[in-house]
Symmetry: C2
Subunit: 186 residues, 2 copies
């Protein structure tokens, strides 16, 4: 079976939109998703890139552009009052679950995205995730190191933003490049 | 007849790809193009934005992304050895022709784009443009002021990059958002 990589951080609204399309996209393209959690803040720091919202005019456009995409996709997209959010703990928890309870990984990432961008925002406890167990994961040195390792791998392979897709070594950046990913998979 | 604005600088490869699609796009959407020359360097300075190529990883992706778009569009896209190019004189000439010889404006912009991104690159003299007459335009204080005025108008309306389209007051950034422009025109 073909596969592609999906590199993400749950703090990215573009990654959220792509995430919601992933199951149907993967099925339509007969391809498996290889999930790759990374810390977008670390990617920005290493590459010299920054969130588009640091340029006010670009941020204003991006919110309008993502709202159009969300409406087209039929996905509710809201923003928390403290956007952009620090996602270090959530991304550690994501990679921790990927390693230790892989069967719960997708549900956790979904709950984490919905806790930031859902309308209404959902508490991750609603997904049946115990905050204490999640917190313990985020304090595990091996898990901390795994997130750093993934983020370094992302940067070394050319990632500079989220979401990023790879088909083999070909990189596609953005929720608006999924058609290119589909073409590359064919 | 409906219309939309096309804000551009001939130094932008994304604007070049959009430019080459403009005639068929305008016809298909029964809309007139309102051409708006601006100085992208001035827009970057005023907004705090910068060319994507200033982030090496993003620049590398952008070249690959534009190459894919060019191939899809069937448009040859090359880069001059001195890319990115200083387009001040060319953009002054463009706005000068728009004011003084509007019937030659589109041909000049086409020649200017081809002199930068064409394969092979074409000399603007091939388009029948006299370098001395063009140079005289670029030294006209009224034309210099007109380019500044356009660039300031762009910034005041939220432009931060090229190409930018407006349908009424709705802004669309990028050659990859022409489908959104078409939707807005319907």
């Amino acid at each position: 079976m073909k596969s592609f990589e999906f590199w993400f951080d749950v703090g990215s609204p573009a990654a959220y939109l792509a995430w919601k399309r992933l199951p149907s996209f993967a099925a339509a393209n007969h391809a498996a998703v290889v999930h790759k959690p990374m810390l977008l803040g670390g990617v920005f720091k290493a590459t010299g890139n920054a969130s588009p919202v640091t340029i006010p005019a670009k941020g204003k456009w991006l919110f309008a552009d993502l709202a159009r995409a969300a409406q087209r996709d039929g996905v509710p997209l809201g923003y928390p009052p403290d956007f952009p959010v620090n996602t270090l703990a959530l991304m550690r928890a994501a990679i921790g679950l990927q390693q230790k309870s892989p069967e719960r990984f997708v549900a956790f990432v979904d709950a984490a995205f919905d806790s930031i961008f859902g309308i209404p925002r959902k508490d991750i406890r609603e997904g049946g995730f115990d905050p204490d167990a999640i917190l313990a994961l985020t304090n595990d040195p091996g898990i901390k190191a795994a997130l750093i390792r993934n983020t370094e791998e992302a940067v070394s392979r050319g990632v500079f933003g989220a979401p990023t897709f790879f088909v083999g070594d070909e990189l596609f950046w953005g929720q608006d490049r999924m058609d290119d990913v589909a073409r590359a998979l064919r």
